[in-house]
């Protein structure tokens, strides 16, 4: 009988608590919190380089957030974003590095982006198949798959693919590069891919009969099965879609920024993606502001690392997520 709170209330309150806590920590670290927040503001949205950094990180986190949010609607907890991002980045970098240099730009970008998305999708899909066919819990299988792809990519890099006396692959062909939004900015046009993916995710889930079935399967698989819905199919497609979103991170990080693959390039992205998805309550459009917040916190923390340890902002992120979970339970 309780009226549901407007959906903005929970995240707003969680963020407020997070802010209060980090304020206390900044004071404990012997700095003036207001000055620090002013500094963060000027270092992020106050400069074109800072803005670029925030957009760059946001792009990554939108996709990593979708990787968790979409399967979540089918009651699947995809912990494997980390491995799926890695698989996508590795595959896209290798594919784009071995493309002939005469490949025209649209084709080269498309091929490399698709290769990344397919690799991420295949990783997640194998966890889906294990679940549908053998009943293996996706939390366990995606964590295991994370280890497998980490081992594989690292082995391939050190033993076969890295340029002599370096720890990275050869650069991708020039035509596969996704151009920067403006000069000296890490932000590039893959931000459009991320926005498009969020909108596509929303339409899929909330505007199609397919999405209706997928949400039904997630909320009550038995009732969905009685209604003639193939719940196994939706497990597979939800995982595949989530994995593809993770794989698309390659467009931003490899094709738009680093232009090659190196070890540690994608470390931690998948896990921050979980936080982004939780804050958005697994709604693809709310993933956008949620990712922006985490992107800004991540770079904001980094930008004042000289004054206060950036770990404070890591703690703040975690506090926000715990608060969201606490408040959802009421």
């Amino acid at each position: 009988m309780h009226k549901p709170l407007p959906r903005i209330v929970t995240p707003a309150a969680a963020i407020t608590v997070g802010l209060l806590l980090s304020t206390l920590l900044i004071i404990a670290a012997g700095r003036d919190p207001l000055a620090m927040y002013a500094k963060i503001a000027s270092m992020t949205f106050g400069s074109s380089y800072g803005t670029g950094q925030v957009i760059f990180r946001t792009t990554t986190l939108v996709l990593a957030g979708l990787a968790v949010a979409i399967p979540f609607r089918a009651k699947l907890f995809n912990i494997g974003g980390e491995g799926q991002v890695l698989a996508g980045a590795f595959t896209a970098a290798v594919t784009a590095a071995f493309l002939p240099s005469w490949t025209p730009a649209p084709a080269a970008v498309t091929i490399a982006v698709l290769a990344g998305a397919l690799a991420g999708s295949a990783m997640a899909l194998s966890a889906g198949l294990l679940k549908v066919r053998y009943g293996v819990n996706e939390v366990i299988s995606t964590i295991m798959l994370n280890f497998i792809i980490q081992g594989f990519s690292s082995y391939m890099l050190t033993n076969h693919l890295a340029l002599p006396s370096t720890a990275h692959t050869p650069d991708i062909v020039d035509t596969a590069i996704i151009p920067a939004l403006w000069k000296h900015s890490p932000a590039n046009y893959s931000v459009l891919i991320a926005a498009g993916a969020a909108i596509a995710g929303y339409i899929l889930l909330f505007r199609t009969r397919f999405g209706y079935e997928m949400r039904a399967s997630g909320l009550n698989p038995q009732a969905a099965a009685h209604a003639g819905i193939d719940t196994g199919l939706h497990t597979l497609t939800a995982m595949a879609a989530g994995g593809a979103a993770a794989g698309l991170v390659a467009a931003n990080i490899v094709l738009g920024y680093r232009h090659c693959f190196e070890s540690g390039l994608t470390a931690g992205i998948g896990f921050t993606g979980i936080a982004v998805a939780l804050l958005s309550k697994a709604h693809p459009l709310w993933v956008l502001p949620s990712a922006l917040l985490f992107g800004a916190m991540e770079y904001g923390g980094l930008s004042i690392n000289a004054y206060v340890p950036k770990e404070i902002f890591m703690m703040m992120q975690a506090v926000i997520i715990i608060m969201v979970l606490v408040m959802q339970k009421k």
Partner: protein, 514 residues
């Protein structure tokens, strides 16, 4: 002798803008069985939760044995001698009867020696005295529903509860088990204990209770003595208008055979024979009622016909709808042939609680072309469906159609399911599993009439129900199911005759199902 066991005065409880209990005053005398009857959503559950300390009233006072008290938790209620048997049992399946009864007992210190044999004697004594035989070492997971309920009652008696609150205790019981329960309750009353029975079954109220209080829309309308009232009067008080208890059943004119089941057998993994060479034919324009005690293969039959048998089932025989074999088909193919299904378990199988009312009206019918537009839904068609079911089924949603299905009362929920399934275009066969379980009188009346309308329109209907009254009211023919096969079938003439004298007919059906 009229000692007051429990007295409520001016109890009011609001949830937001909704008033669940409005100035309820009630006196329950010691050593009586007092029924609280009302439709779903009338406030019975809130009231019992207040008595049990689960919910705190906004206003009003409560006194036990003439001593005013405030119960802020079930723990305090138990201390005050109040015990409650919930509709859904609170037992640990992997512990024995004895262990479940001792679980959480206040007299048992954490480190004090565990007097298992002494407890066993006490429990056996109580069980014996009240005619509730039970093996104290049986595992809960191996018990029948009726036996589980006995464990719940014994648990309360072992804690020496003087006032027992039972919430819809017969909803899950077969007729024979209900009789046993009532015998035990009478014996408890005669020992001086007080029993409050929450129910919406008026026959039971008149059968067992000494007094009855009727609730409607959060208010306590009246408290009557059971020997001075009638079922009609109670029904009118509950619903607020005259209710036709017996749906008017026009003459049956069955047509050609539509569903033919031949020698259906089903065995599940642990070698349990669920169905045993079951054969029956349902004609167009007839309702075939299956009477039986729960667990004799009714659920399995419905699952099988809807294409959802257990994964490890071994099935033989045939089930043909107008010559087309149903066995082996998926639910969506079966639905495509013009078959509708009202599953027995509403919450687990028929609806998605968190989905909106509108989304639940579409569930299972969302593939129909009329609702499609591109890859999405046709909004006009959806709104039309919402409007049709809301008006034809007298849905009371309190305004917003966007609210979750879960927030509706059981009666309104079942109206939505019935509206959805009965509204399937070109409906040929209707499978009904307990279509009015946990539904209030007003909604039962409406759903029964809609089922009869469908029959008049030529639909073949299979009705599975443990309520004999429902089977007798609606059926053209009645098959008595026992251990997976139809043991006896009553012809249309016999059923027609039986409807004139339902009590006697129930008895003769009872002979064939136990």
């Amino acid at each position: 002798m009229s000692i007051t066991a429990l007295e409520l005065s001016g109890i009011t409880k609001r949830f937001g803008s909704f008033t669940a209990n409005n100035d309820v005053s009630l006196t329950v005398r010691k050593g009586t069985i007092h029924a609280i009857a009302g439709e779903n959503g009338a406030g019975k559950s809130t009231l019992s939760n207040i008595i049990y300390g689960l919910v705190q009233p906004d206003a009003g006072t409560l006194s036990i044995d003439n001593k005013p008290c405030r119960l802020t938790s079930p723990r305090e209620a138990i201390k005050a001698g109040i015990g409650m048997v919930h509709q859904h049992f609170m037992l640990s399946g992997n512990l024995s009867v004895l262990e479940n009864i001792l679980l959480g007992d206040e007299r048992q210190g954490l480190l004090s020696p565990f007097r298992r044999s002494r407890a066993r004697e006490v429990i056996a004594g109580i069980a014996e005295r009240h005619g509730m035989p039970l093996d104290p070492d049986a595992m809960i997971e191996n018990l029948s529903v009726g036996e589980e309920q006995r464990v719940e009652i014994l648990k309360l008696l072992y804690r020496n509860a003087q006032l027992l609150l039972l919430d819809e205790p017969t909803a899950v019981l077969a007729p024979s088990e209900t009789r046993k329960l009532f015998t035990a309750l009478r014996s408890l009353r005669d020992e001086g204990r007080t029993i409050i029975l929450i129910t919406h079954k008026l026959d039971e109220v008149l059968n067992i209770a000494d007094n009855v209080s009727i609730m409607r829309k959060g208010k306590l309308i009246a408290t009557l003595s059971c020997d001075k009232t009638s079922k009609e009067e109670l029904a009118r008080l509950m619903v607020g208008r005259d209710v036709v208890l017996q749906a008017d059943n026009p003459p049956h004119t069955p047509g050609a055979p539509r569903l033919e089941l031949r020698n259906l057998s089903m065995q599940t993994g642990n070698k349990r024979q669920r169905l045993e060479k079951l054969s029956l034919t349902i004609r167009t324009g007839e309702i075939y009622g299956i009477a039986g005690v729960e667990g004799n293969g009714q659920s399995e039959l419905l699952q099988l016909l809807w294409g959802m048998p257990p994964a490890d089932a071994h099935i033989t025989g045939s089930a043909q709808l107008e010559g087309k074999e149903l066995l082996g088909l998926q639910p969506r193919d079966i639905a495509g042939l013009g078959v509708s299904n009202v599953p027995e378990d509403r919450h687990r199988h028929a609806a998605i609680g968190q989905f909106s009312i509108e989304n639940n009206m579409l569930l299972g019918r969302h593939r129909e072309k009329a609702f499609a537009r591109g890859s999405g839904f046709n909004r006009k068609a959806r709104e039309q469906l919402l409007h049709d079911i809301t008006t034809h089924y007298d849905l009371r949603t309190g305004g917003s159609t966007n609210q979750a299905f879960l927030s509706l009362s059981g009666g309104n929920q079942q109206k939505i399911i019935a509206g959805r399934e009965l509204g399937r275009p070109d409906l040929r066969l209707l499978l009904l599993g307990q279509p009015t379980r946990g539904v209030d009188i007003g909604a039962i009346e409406l759903i029964h009439n809609k089922i009869l309308e469908a029959r008049q329109a030529g639909v073949a209907i299979l009705l599975v129900s443990t309520e004999l009254e429902e089977i007798i009211t609606l059926s053209t023919r009645i098959g008595c199911i026992y251990k997976g096969s139809i043991r006896h079938e009553f012809s249309p003439e016999e059923v027609q005759e039986g409807r004139m004298a339902p009590a006697k007919f129930s008895e003769s059906i009872g002979m064939h199902i136990t």
